[in-house]
């Protein structure tokens, strides 16, 4: 599932800023995967992360999408 996990976040916000698709947001000072369905698996978040906190997966799955979503 796209960006998979964030472990050991130091709250620097680099991943939030570098994600082109606004997938990651901040919550209580830590980065949180918020909109995984919009992840393009480009790894820019992982590459900008200074502490290698982000794990990626090449698998893309998106939730069921309904017209009123």
């Amino acid at each position: 599932m796209t960006i998979k996990s964030i472990t050991g976040c130091i709250g620097c916000e680099e991943c939030v800023k570098s994600c082109p698709c606004d997938v990651i947001r901040m919550e209580d000072g830590k980065a949180v995967i918020t909109y995984a369905a919009d992840c393009q698996i480009c790894h820019l978040c992982r590459m900008y992360c200074p502490v290698d906190a982000i794990e990626m997966s090449p698998e893309k799955s998106i939730p069921v999408i309904v017209p009123w979503g």
Binding site: P20, D22, I41, C42, L44, P58, K60, W68
Partner: protein, 580 residues
Amino acid sequence: MTTTSETSGPTRRAFMAFSGASAGLAAIGMEAWAQNAVEIDPDAITNTDHVTDVLVIGGGMAGLFAAVKAHDAGAATMIVSKGRLGSSGLTPFGKGFFVFDPATEPGSIDDFVDTVSRSALGTNNPVYTRQLAEHSMDRAVELRDWGYFNQTLANRPFMRPIDDRDIPLLERVTITHLIKEDGRIAGAAGFRLDAEETVTIRAKSVILCTGAGGFKPNGFPLGDLTHDGTVMAYRIGAKVTGKEWNDGHMTRADHPAATFDTWGDMFERVPSTNGVEVHHDLGVDLNYRAYVLGNPVAGGPGAPQETAEVAGGPYVPQEFQRTSDAPADGDGPPPGAGEGGAPGGPPPGFAPSANVGGASAGMAIHKSEGLVPYDDRCASNIPGLYAAGDALGSHMAGGIYTQVGSSLAGSAVQGAIAGEAAAEYASGVEAPMIPDTRLAEITDEILAPLRRDAGYGPAWVTQTLQGIMIPNFVLYIKKAAMMNAALAYIEELRDHHAPMLRAANMHELRLAWETRNMILSAEMKLRASLFRTESRCSHYRLDYPEVDDVNWRAWINIHRADDGTMELTKQPFGTWPDQG
């Protein structure tokens, strides 16, 4: 001159204080920055108003140079990006930077321009092709000074000249509207992702460095490129060109949606320069093969080729045909190396083994799909509105991928030229007057999807758009019947679904506006493709498979007619548009 900013209260109930006093750049809600609000109250949204001479929209290679050169020419300059400088759009995808070095190139610039024109079958604008060669080295020298060629991630070297000059930079701000007053550009408006806030910017001149786009298929890495600039400009009367061309990148059979699996070599590479290397690539020939034989297509440029002969398909000039998996001279990157693939391997975007076609559609050919240039300085038909890079339909490289590394270099070159031109224009005009009522109207329109209780989610509308435009090769192997069928669906999305898009928060609001832009872009692409009754470069019609030099040595321009419909006109190759 300085750039000024001011925040005002909730937009709907108290839209005021748009004029007058200046303040520093607003630092709003920093402790809650980028928090996610699942549901927000649109009536509590505030507005920040900015004033500048030159507004640059877009934070890629073109936007960087546009801002630096506009500032250095004396204009108060501001950049706004919906992502982060150097990290969004296509800039991270390219690491090869074309430089024409007269000391080492065996041929002249004239030779280079002629070669591009032969590959592009006349579709290139030779003035912009020449400009690329003439200015590329100067831009590479500047990038080298900023440290661009020493690292893999562009943000830090891009920030150096911006920080040195104190150029105001608004990141994670989605611009949805260009504003025109009294027949000239007057500014832009949009909203922040990280705060419940709309943004209005009054500017004497605006430079679109917004890139181009595709249709955001799950399988292709163009998640944030949705033709925003082109569509915003079209809505205020700008002419648009090049919508019939298509980049024909395939994707990998394994993990087709994983951008990094396909492009990671580029992302992790340190940028480098390359010299003249002209191809006729990334058109639709491999998609034609996939259409005829089925997927996957083994090989791709630079990989072992299939042996099965396929009759017909797009015309490739003899001089530029691929004959083997290695270039004829045995060195250098393989044919079609795009932004500079690793020597000996497939170019970025192509797996060494199985590729699949029909996995994306509607992706622009670099520099050939965007605003119609009215001169050699990136001006549009709207006074004060400029475009550079992939947002300008300069046809610098033509309707197919020709010079390796020209997309990054072309964005740098055109950004710099547009920046200087915009600063010069801004120095000769008064600040535009935008009535507060007009700004209130625009911010209301921006926020409308947040106020809808019923309607359609942008993700669903986008999925529907993908279903119409992508799997059936509609824009690769073009046929009138299929395109007319697709157009009927697109018109339905445009008329019925787009006006009912709804959003619960700022993330979804961005998706809603991107979806609207993609729908209009899809309509343009279908209409231009139907209009061009021939095949040439990356435009391939199964029902008109031949190049038609009698009728079609012309670009296609699109503008909004008085009755709101799209009007298409021809502009002969090698000419500028009528100034009227």
